[in-house]
Symmetry: C2
Protein backbone atom coordinates (compact mmCIF):
# COMPACT_ATOMS: atom_id res chain seq x y z
CA UNK A 1 0.00 0.00 0.00
CA UNK A 2 1.23 3.47 -0.85
CA UNK A 3 0.84 5.68 2.21
CA UNK A 4 1.36 9.38 2.87
CA UNK A 5 0.52 11.42 5.95
CA UNK A 6 -0.14 15.05 5.03
CA UNK A 7 -0.47 17.98 7.42
CA UNK A 8 -2.58 21.14 7.42
CA UNK A 9 -1.23 23.66 9.87
CA UNK A 10 -4.18 25.94 10.68
CA UNK A 11 -6.28 23.21 12.30
CA UNK A 12 -3.36 20.75 12.69
CA UNK A 13 -5.30 18.24 10.63
CA UNK A 14 -3.73 15.09 9.21
CA UNK A 15 -4.97 13.97 5.81
CA UNK A 16 -4.07 10.44 4.78
CA UNK A 17 -3.41 9.30 1.24
CA UNK A 18 -3.77 5.58 0.61
CA UNK A 19 -2.84 4.20 -2.80
CA UNK A 20 -3.19 0.78 -4.38
CA UNK A 21 -0.07 -0.24 -6.29
CA UNK A 22 -2.07 -2.67 -8.45
CA UNK A 23 -4.93 -0.49 -9.70
CA UNK A 24 -3.25 2.90 -9.30
CA UNK A 25 -6.26 4.17 -7.35
CA UNK A 26 -5.97 6.48 -4.36
CA UNK A 27 -8.23 7.71 -1.59
CA UNK A 28 -7.85 10.60 0.82
CA UNK A 29 -9.07 10.42 4.40
CA UNK A 30 -10.12 13.78 5.90
CA UNK A 31 -8.94 16.14 3.15
CA UNK A 32 -8.98 19.86 3.99
CA UNK A 33 -10.51 22.34 1.55
CA UNK A 34 -7.58 24.75 1.66
CA UNK A 35 -5.16 21.93 0.78
CA UNK A 36 -6.97 20.47 -2.22
CA UNK A 37 -4.28 21.55 -4.67
CA UNK A 38 -1.50 20.15 -2.52
CA UNK A 39 -3.39 16.85 -2.19
CA UNK A 40 -4.11 16.54 -5.91
CA UNK A 41 -0.48 17.33 -6.73
CA UNK A 42 0.65 14.58 -4.37
CA UNK A 43 -1.76 12.08 -5.97
CA UNK A 44 -0.46 12.99 -9.43
CA UNK A 45 3.17 12.89 -8.31
CA UNK A 46 2.67 9.31 -7.16
CA UNK A 47 1.15 8.38 -10.51
CA UNK A 48 -2.22 7.64 -8.94
CA UNK A 49 -5.84 8.51 -9.73
CA UNK A 50 -8.04 9.78 -6.93
CA UNK A 51 -11.03 7.46 -6.59
CA UNK A 52 -12.49 8.49 -3.22
CA UNK A 53 -12.44 11.15 -0.58
CA UNK A 54 -13.45 9.76 2.78
CA UNK A 55 -14.43 11.70 5.90
CA UNK A 56 -14.41 10.37 9.45
CA UNK A 57 -17.07 12.78 10.67
CA UNK A 58 -18.63 16.23 10.31
CA UNK A 59 -15.68 18.33 11.37
CA UNK A 60 -16.01 21.48 13.45
CA UNK A 61 -12.47 22.80 12.93
CA UNK A 62 -12.01 22.66 9.17
CA UNK A 63 -14.01 22.21 6.00
CA UNK A 64 -13.59 18.99 4.07
CA UNK A 65 -12.04 19.09 0.60
CA UNK A 66 -14.45 16.39 -0.62
CA UNK A 67 -16.64 18.50 -2.92
CA UNK A 68 -13.73 20.42 -4.44
CA UNK A 69 -11.84 17.17 -5.07
CA UNK A 70 -14.92 15.73 -6.79
CA UNK A 71 -15.28 18.85 -8.91
CA UNK A 72 -11.61 18.70 -9.86
CA UNK A 73 -11.14 15.01 -10.67
CA UNK A 74 -14.53 13.31 -10.37
CA UNK A 75 -13.75 11.17 -7.33
CA UNK A 76 -16.58 9.81 -5.21
CA UNK A 77 -17.51 11.34 -1.85
CA UNK A 78 -17.59 8.82 0.99
CA UNK A 79 -19.09 9.71 4.38
CA UNK A 80 -20.80 7.85 7.21
CA UNK A 81 -24.37 6.88 6.25
CA UNK A 82 -25.39 7.91 9.78
CA UNK A 83 -24.93 11.58 8.86
CA UNK A 84 -27.38 11.36 5.91
CA UNK A 85 -25.56 13.93 3.80
CA UNK A 86 -27.38 14.29 0.44
CA UNK A 87 -24.09 15.16 -1.28
CA UNK A 88 -22.56 11.76 -0.48
CA UNK A 89 -21.90 9.23 -3.24
CA UNK A 90 -20.99 6.30 -1.00
CA UNK A 91 -22.59 6.21 2.47
CA UNK A 92 -20.64 3.87 4.75
CA UNK A 93 -21.95 1.60 7.48
CA UNK A 94 -20.16 -0.60 9.95
CA UNK A 95 -19.30 -4.04 8.58
CA UNK A 96 -19.74 -2.81 5.00
CA UNK A 97 -16.17 -2.41 3.78
CA UNK A 98 -14.97 -0.09 1.06
CA UNK A 99 -12.78 -2.00 -1.39
CA UNK A 100 -10.32 -0.09 -3.57
CA UNK A 101 -8.06 -2.48 -5.44
CA UNK A 102 -6.10 -4.42 -2.85
CA UNK A 103 -7.02 -1.99 -0.06
CA UNK A 104 -9.91 -2.85 2.25
CA UNK A 105 -11.19 0.01 4.37
CA UNK A 106 -13.23 -1.24 7.29
CA UNK A 107 -15.53 1.38 8.89
CA UNK A 108 -15.85 1.32 12.68
CA UNK A 109 -18.71 3.37 14.13
CA UNK A 110 -17.03 5.21 16.99
CA UNK A 111 -19.50 7.84 18.25
CA UNK A 112 -18.84 10.15 21.19
CA UNK A 113 -16.97 13.08 19.61
CA UNK A 114 -19.88 13.32 17.18
CA UNK A 115 -22.72 10.83 16.99
CA UNK A 116 -21.89 9.86 13.41
CA UNK A 117 -18.13 9.50 13.85
CA UNK A 118 -16.38 6.61 12.10
CA UNK A 119 -12.81 5.34 12.32
CA UNK A 120 -11.37 3.39 9.39
CA UNK A 121 -9.22 0.32 9.71
CA UNK A 122 -6.96 -0.71 6.82
CA UNK A 123 -4.22 -3.35 7.03
CA UNK A 124 -2.16 -2.62 10.12
CA UNK A 125 -3.34 0.99 10.45
CA UNK A 126 -6.41 2.57 11.99
CA UNK A 127 -7.40 6.12 11.15
CA UNK A 128 -9.04 7.20 14.35
CA UNK A 129 -10.38 10.62 13.39
CA UNK A 130 -11.13 12.62 16.53
CA UNK A 131 -12.24 9.59 18.56
CA UNK A 132 -8.71 8.74 19.68
CA UNK A 133 -5.79 11.14 19.52
CA UNK A 134 -2.22 10.49 20.69
CA UNK A 135 -2.40 10.84 24.49
CA UNK A 136 -5.86 12.37 24.09
CA UNK A 137 -9.22 12.40 22.33
CA UNK A 138 -11.64 14.79 20.67
CA UNK A 139 -13.93 16.90 22.84
CA UNK A 140 -17.42 15.66 23.59
CA UNK A 141 -19.33 18.87 24.31
CA UNK A 142 -21.02 19.56 20.97
CA UNK A 143 -22.45 17.84 17.87
CA UNK A 144 -24.23 15.25 20.02
CA UNK A 145 -20.94 14.38 21.66
CA UNK A 146 -21.05 12.25 24.78
CA UNK A 147 -18.19 11.16 27.02
CA UNK A 148 -19.66 7.82 28.05
CA UNK A 149 -20.33 6.98 24.41
CA UNK A 150 -16.78 7.89 23.39
CA UNK A 151 -15.38 5.79 26.22
CA UNK A 152 -17.24 2.73 24.93
CA UNK A 153 -16.23 3.43 21.31
CA UNK A 154 -12.54 3.57 22.18
CA UNK A 155 -12.50 0.74 24.69
CA UNK A 156 -14.76 -1.68 22.82
CA UNK A 157 -13.81 -1.01 19.20
CA UNK A 158 -10.40 0.63 18.93
CA UNK A 159 -8.74 -1.10 21.88
CA UNK A 160 -10.09 -4.40 20.53
CA UNK A 161 -7.66 -4.12 17.63
CA UNK A 162 -4.25 -5.79 17.82
CA UNK A 163 -1.71 -4.03 20.05
CA UNK A 164 0.60 -3.34 17.11
CA UNK A 165 -2.03 -1.63 14.97
CA UNK A 166 -0.77 1.87 14.18
CA UNK A 167 -2.93 4.74 15.38
CA UNK A 168 -3.12 7.61 12.89
CA UNK A 169 -5.21 10.43 14.38
CA UNK A 170 -6.99 13.29 12.61
CA UNK A 171 -5.00 15.84 14.60
CA UNK A 172 -1.98 16.31 16.75
CA UNK A 173 -1.19 19.67 18.25
CA UNK A 174 2.42 18.96 19.27
CA UNK A 175 3.88 17.47 16.10
CA UNK A 176 3.48 13.79 16.91
CA UNK A 177 2.58 11.66 13.91
CA UNK A 178 1.69 8.16 14.99
CA UNK A 179 1.06 5.92 17.95
CA UNK A 180 -0.09 2.32 18.43
CA UNK A 181 -3.02 0.66 20.15
CA UNK A 182 -0.65 -0.72 22.80
CA UNK A 183 0.70 2.76 23.48
CA UNK A 184 -2.73 4.33 23.85
CA UNK A 185 -3.96 1.52 26.08
CA UNK A 186 -0.94 1.99 28.33
CA UNK A 187 -0.45 5.74 28.48
CA UNK A 188 -3.41 7.70 27.10
CA UNK A 189 -4.07 9.94 30.13
CA UNK A 190 -7.82 10.04 29.44
CA UNK A 191 -8.70 6.70 27.92
CA UNK A 192 -5.84 4.38 28.91
CA UNK A 193 -7.00 1.12 30.45
CA UNK A 194 -6.10 2.34 33.94
CA UNK A 195 -8.86 4.94 33.72
CA UNK A 196 -12.49 4.23 34.67
CA UNK A 197 -15.56 5.55 32.89
CA UNK A 198 -16.24 7.83 35.85
CA UNK A 199 -12.71 9.26 35.72
CA UNK A 200 -13.02 9.83 31.98
CA UNK A 201 -16.38 11.58 32.33
CA UNK A 202 -14.93 13.85 34.99
CA UNK A 203 -11.91 14.70 32.83
CA UNK A 204 -14.13 15.54 29.87
CA UNK A 205 -16.55 17.59 31.98
CA UNK A 206 -13.72 19.79 33.25
CA UNK A 207 -11.69 20.58 30.12
CA UNK A 208 -12.93 24.18 30.09
CA UNK A 209 -12.37 24.51 26.35
CA UNK A 210 -13.25 27.66 24.44
CA UNK A 211 -16.10 27.67 21.94
CA UNK A 212 -14.52 26.50 18.63
CA UNK A 213 -13.95 29.60 16.55
CA UNK A 214 -14.76 27.97 13.21
CA UNK A 215 -17.60 25.60 14.18
CA UNK A 216 -20.45 27.83 13.01
CA UNK A 217 -19.00 27.84 9.50
CA UNK A 218 -17.46 24.36 9.42
CA UNK A 219 -20.49 22.30 10.39
CA UNK A 220 -22.87 23.71 7.74
CA UNK A 221 -20.01 23.70 5.20
CA UNK A 222 -19.29 20.05 5.92
CA UNK A 223 -22.96 19.12 5.73
CA UNK A 224 -22.62 20.28 2.09
CA UNK A 225 -19.51 18.02 1.71
CA UNK A 226 -17.25 21.06 1.69
CA UNK A 227 -18.59 24.52 0.92
CA UNK A 228 -16.86 27.72 2.01
CA UNK A 229 -19.25 30.19 3.63
CA UNK A 230 -19.91 33.40 1.66
CA UNK A 231 -19.87 35.50 4.83
CA UNK A 232 -16.53 34.35 6.25
CA UNK A 233 -14.90 37.01 8.46
CA UNK A 234 -11.47 38.15 7.32
CA UNK A 235 -9.90 36.67 10.45
CA UNK A 236 -10.95 33.19 9.34
CA UNK A 237 -10.03 33.49 5.69
CA UNK A 238 -7.14 31.06 5.96
CA UNK A 239 -9.64 28.24 6.41
CA UNK A 240 -10.74 28.70 2.79
CA UNK A 241 -8.23 31.04 1.18
CA UNK A 242 -6.59 28.63 -1.23
CA UNK A 243 -9.84 27.98 -3.04
CA UNK A 244 -9.66 31.10 -5.16
CA UNK A 245 -6.72 29.50 -6.94
CA UNK A 246 -8.32 26.05 -7.08
CA UNK A 247 -8.83 24.12 -10.32
CA UNK A 248 -12.40 25.45 -10.28
CA UNK A 249 -11.39 29.11 -10.00
CA UNK B 1 4.60 -9.11 7.09
CA UNK B 2 3.76 -10.35 10.56
CA UNK B 3 4.97 -7.80 13.09
CA UNK B 4 5.11 -7.71 16.88
CA UNK B 5 6.72 -5.16 19.17
CA UNK B 6 7.73 -6.77 22.47
CA UNK B 7 8.89 -4.99 25.61
CA UNK B 8 11.39 -5.83 28.34
CA UNK B 9 10.85 -3.68 31.39
CA UNK B 10 14.20 -3.70 33.23
CA UNK B 11 16.11 -1.94 30.44
CA UNK B 12 12.98 -0.74 28.61
CA UNK B 13 14.16 -2.60 25.52
CA UNK B 14 11.94 -3.22 22.52
CA UNK B 15 12.43 -6.52 20.73
CA UNK B 16 10.86 -6.80 17.28
CA UNK B 17 9.47 -9.97 15.76
CA UNK B 18 9.17 -10.00 11.98
CA UNK B 19 7.50 -12.95 10.30
CA UNK B 20 7.09 -13.95 6.67
CA UNK B 21 3.58 -15.21 5.93
CA UNK B 22 4.82 -17.18 2.91
CA UNK B 23 7.71 -19.18 4.37
CA UNK B 24 6.63 -19.13 8.02
CA UNK B 25 10.08 -17.86 9.03
CA UNK B 26 10.63 -15.30 11.77
CA UNK B 27 13.47 -13.14 12.99
CA UNK B 28 13.92 -11.23 16.23
CA UNK B 29 15.68 -7.87 16.37
CA UNK B 30 17.43 -7.14 19.68
CA UNK B 31 16.17 -10.05 21.77
CA UNK B 32 16.90 -9.86 25.53
CA UNK B 33 18.33 -12.89 27.32
CA UNK B 34 15.83 -12.78 30.17
CA UNK B 35 12.91 -12.81 27.71
CA UNK B 36 13.98 -15.74 25.55
CA UNK B 37 11.11 -17.93 26.70
CA UNK B 38 8.55 -15.20 26.11
CA UNK B 39 9.97 -14.59 22.64
CA UNK B 40 10.00 -18.27 21.67
CA UNK B 41 6.44 -18.70 22.93
CA UNK B 42 5.34 -15.76 20.78
CA UNK B 43 7.06 -17.23 17.70
CA UNK B 44 5.35 -20.58 18.31
CA UNK B 45 1.98 -18.96 18.99
CA UNK B 46 2.15 -17.30 15.58
CA UNK B 47 2.92 -20.63 13.92
CA UNK B 48 6.38 -19.44 12.86
CA UNK B 49 9.90 -20.88 12.98
CA UNK B 50 12.69 -18.67 14.25
CA UNK B 51 15.33 -18.36 11.54
CA UNK B 52 17.47 -15.46 12.79
CA UNK B 53 18.24 -13.33 15.78
CA UNK B 54 19.58 -9.94 14.74
CA UNK B 55 21.35 -7.39 16.93
CA UNK B 56 21.73 -3.71 16.15
CA UNK B 57 24.88 -3.30 18.23
CA UNK B 58 26.83 -4.45 21.27
CA UNK B 59 24.41 -3.35 23.96
CA UNK B 60 25.56 -1.90 27.28
CA UNK B 61 22.22 -2.14 29.11
CA UNK B 62 21.11 -5.72 28.50
CA UNK B 63 22.48 -9.03 27.25
CA UNK B 64 21.27 -10.30 23.90
CA UNK B 65 19.19 -13.46 23.75
CA UNK B 66 20.95 -14.54 20.54
CA UNK B 67 23.00 -17.45 21.87
CA UNK B 68 20.18 -18.85 24.02
CA UNK B 69 17.77 -18.64 21.08
CA UNK B 70 20.28 -20.52 18.90
CA UNK B 71 20.73 -23.19 21.56
CA UNK B 72 16.97 -23.55 21.90
CA UNK B 73 15.85 -23.63 18.27
CA UNK B 74 18.95 -23.54 16.09
CA UNK B 75 18.38 -20.09 14.59
CA UNK B 76 21.32 -18.20 13.09
CA UNK B 77 23.00 -15.32 14.91
CA UNK B 78 23.18 -12.13 12.85
CA UNK B 79 25.35 -9.18 13.98
CA UNK B 80 27.21 -6.35 12.29
CA UNK B 81 30.39 -7.62 10.59
CA UNK B 82 32.11 -4.52 11.93
CA UNK B 83 32.05 -5.97 15.46
CA UNK B 84 33.91 -9.16 14.39
CA UNK B 85 32.15 -11.40 16.91
CA UNK B 86 33.45 -14.99 16.46
CA UNK B 87 30.06 -16.35 17.62
CA UNK B 88 28.22 -14.76 14.67
CA UNK B 89 26.75 -16.94 11.92
CA UNK B 90 25.80 -14.12 9.55
CA UNK B 91 27.94 -10.95 9.68
CA UNK B 92 26.07 -8.04 8.06
CA UNK B 93 27.49 -5.19 6.03
CA UNK B 94 25.83 -2.16 4.55
CA UNK B 95 24.27 -2.78 1.15
CA UNK B 96 24.28 -6.55 1.76
CA UNK B 97 20.66 -7.30 2.57
CA UNK B 98 19.36 -10.19 4.63
CA UNK B 99 16.54 -11.93 2.78
CA UNK B 100 14.05 -14.04 4.74
CA UNK B 101 11.20 -15.14 2.51
CA UNK B 102 9.44 -11.99 1.34
CA UNK B 103 11.15 -9.82 3.95
CA UNK B 104 14.23 -7.84 2.97
CA UNK B 105 16.24 -6.42 5.85
CA UNK B 106 18.55 -3.66 4.71
CA UNK B 107 21.42 -2.87 7.11
CA UNK B 108 22.36 0.78 7.56
CA UNK B 109 25.69 1.45 9.27
CA UNK B 110 24.79 4.16 11.78
CA UNK B 111 27.79 4.58 14.10
CA UNK B 112 27.97 7.16 16.89
CA UNK B 113 26.31 5.39 19.83
CA UNK B 114 28.77 2.55 19.21
CA UNK B 115 31.15 2.40 16.28
CA UNK B 116 29.61 -0.81 14.96
CA UNK B 117 25.96 0.20 15.31
CA UNK B 118 23.54 -0.76 12.54
CA UNK B 119 19.92 0.19 11.93
CA UNK B 120 17.75 -2.14 9.85
CA UNK B 121 15.26 -1.00 7.26
CA UNK B 122 12.42 -3.32 6.21
CA UNK B 123 9.42 -2.28 4.13
CA UNK B 124 8.03 0.91 5.65
CA UNK B 125 9.76 0.44 9.00
CA UNK B 126 13.23 1.24 10.26
CA UNK B 127 14.56 -0.33 13.43
CA UNK B 128 16.84 2.37 14.68
CA UNK B 129 18.49 0.66 17.65
CA UNK B 130 20.04 3.29 19.92
CA UNK B 131 21.02 5.63 17.08
CA UNK B 132 17.64 7.36 17.01
CA UNK B 133 15.10 7.21 19.82
CA UNK B 134 11.73 8.97 19.95
CA UNK B 135 12.59 12.58 20.82
CA UNK B 136 16.12 11.46 21.66
CA UNK B 137 19.10 9.25 20.88
CA UNK B 138 21.52 6.89 22.56
CA UNK B 139 24.44 8.32 24.53
CA UNK B 140 27.78 8.76 22.84
CA UNK B 141 30.22 8.65 25.75
CA UNK B 142 31.43 5.06 25.66
CA UNK B 143 32.05 2.11 23.28
CA UNK B 144 33.77 4.39 20.77
CA UNK B 145 30.72 6.60 20.72
CA UNK B 146 31.04 9.99 19.10
CA UNK B 147 28.46 12.77 18.84
CA UNK B 148 29.59 14.13 15.48
CA UNK B 149 29.51 10.63 14.01
CA UNK B 150 26.01 9.98 15.37
CA UNK B 151 24.81 13.30 13.96
CA UNK B 152 25.97 12.30 10.48
CA UNK B 153 24.48 8.79 10.81
CA UNK B 154 21.05 10.14 11.69
CA UNK B 155 21.03 13.08 9.31
CA UNK B 156 22.57 11.33 6.29
CA UNK B 157 21.14 7.83 6.57
CA UNK B 158 18.01 7.77 8.70
CA UNK B 159 16.63 11.18 7.73
CA UNK B 160 17.25 10.24 4.08
CA UNK B 161 14.43 7.70 4.35
CA UNK B 162 10.89 8.65 3.32
CA UNK B 163 9.05 10.89 5.79
CA UNK B 164 6.40 8.23 6.42
CA UNK B 165 8.85 5.47 7.34
CA UNK B 166 8.00 4.29 10.84
CA UNK B 167 10.72 4.67 13.46
CA UNK B 168 10.89 1.73 15.86
CA UNK B 169 13.59 2.41 18.47
CA UNK B 170 15.43 -0.06 20.69
CA UNK B 171 14.18 1.73 23.81
CA UNK B 172 11.67 4.17 25.11
CA UNK B 173 11.62 5.18 28.72
CA UNK B 174 8.17 6.81 28.78
CA UNK B 175 6.02 4.16 27.10
CA UNK B 176 5.99 5.53 23.57
CA UNK B 177 6.09 2.83 20.91
CA UNK B 178 6.62 4.36 17.50
CA UNK B 179 7.41 7.54 15.63
CA UNK B 180 8.10 8.47 12.02
CA UNK B 181 11.01 10.00 10.15
CA UNK B 182 8.95 13.16 9.58
CA UNK B 183 8.24 13.41 13.31
CA UNK B 184 11.88 13.03 14.32
CA UNK B 185 13.04 15.50 11.70
CA UNK B 186 10.54 18.05 13.00
CA UNK B 187 10.64 17.63 16.74
CA UNK B 188 13.56 15.53 17.97
CA UNK B 189 15.04 18.00 20.49
CA UNK B 190 18.59 16.79 19.85
CA UNK B 191 18.72 15.75 16.22
CA UNK B 192 15.77 17.51 14.59
CA UNK B 193 16.69 19.40 11.44
CA UNK B 194 16.56 22.72 13.29
CA UNK B 195 19.61 21.68 15.33
CA UNK B 196 23.17 22.21 14.16
CA UNK B 197 26.07 19.82 14.66
CA UNK B 198 27.55 22.21 17.22
CA UNK B 199 24.30 22.35 19.19
CA UNK B 200 24.06 18.57 19.15
CA UNK B 201 27.65 18.13 20.33
CA UNK B 202 27.00 20.55 23.16
CA UNK B 203 23.82 18.72 24.21
CA UNK B 204 25.61 15.37 24.21
CA UNK B 205 28.62 16.75 26.09
CA UNK B 206 26.38 18.01 28.90
CA UNK B 207 24.01 15.11 29.57
CA UNK B 208 25.75 14.29 32.86
CA UNK B 209 24.61 10.66 32.73
CA UNK B 210 25.61 8.14 35.37
CA UNK B 211 27.99 5.30 34.52
CA UNK B 212 25.72 2.50 33.19
CA UNK B 213 25.25 0.01 35.99
CA UNK B 214 25.26 -3.08 33.78
CA UNK B 215 27.83 -2.13 31.14
CA UNK B 216 30.74 -4.06 32.63
CA UNK B 217 28.74 -7.28 32.39
CA UNK B 218 26.73 -6.54 29.26
CA UNK B 219 29.54 -5.67 26.87
CA UNK B 220 31.62 -8.83 27.45
CA UNK B 221 28.40 -10.89 27.57
CA UNK B 222 27.28 -9.48 24.24
CA UNK B 223 30.71 -10.03 22.68
CA UNK B 224 29.94 -13.72 23.32
CA UNK B 225 26.52 -13.27 21.62
CA UNK B 226 24.74 -13.48 24.95
CA UNK B 227 26.44 -15.02 27.99
CA UNK B 228 25.40 -14.24 31.53
CA UNK B 229 28.37 -13.43 33.77
CA UNK B 230 29.16 -15.97 36.52
CA UNK B 231 29.97 -13.23 39.03
CA UNK B 232 26.76 -11.18 38.69
CA UNK B 233 25.94 -9.24 41.88
CA UNK B 234 22.56 -10.08 43.40
CA UNK B 235 21.34 -6.56 42.70
CA UNK B 236 21.65 -7.19 38.94
CA UNK B 237 20.20 -10.69 38.87
CA UNK B 238 17.08 -9.59 37.02
CA UNK B 239 19.15 -9.04 33.93
CA UNK B 240 19.72 -12.78 33.67
CA UNK B 241 17.42 -14.47 36.15
CA UNK B 242 15.03 -16.13 33.73
CA UNK B 243 17.79 -18.23 32.22
CA UNK B 244 17.72 -20.84 34.98
CA UNK B 245 14.31 -21.85 33.65
CA UNK B 246 15.35 -21.61 29.99
CA UNK B 247 15.05 -24.51 27.54
CA UNK B 248 18.74 -25.20 28.22
CA UNK B 249 18.33 -25.39 32.01
Amino acid sequence: MIFKQLHESLSDTYTYLLGCETTGQALLIDPVISMVERDLAKVRQLGLTLAYSVDTHIHADHITGALELKRAVGCKIVTPAFDRLPCTDVPLKENATLQMGSITLKPLHTPGHTDGHFAYFAGDRVFTGDALLIDGCGRTDFQNGDAATLFRSVRDKLFALDDDVLVYPAHDYTGRHVSSIAQEKARNPRLGTAKSLEEFKEIMANLKLAYPKFIDYAVPGNRLCGACPPDLPESLEGYCRHMSASPQG
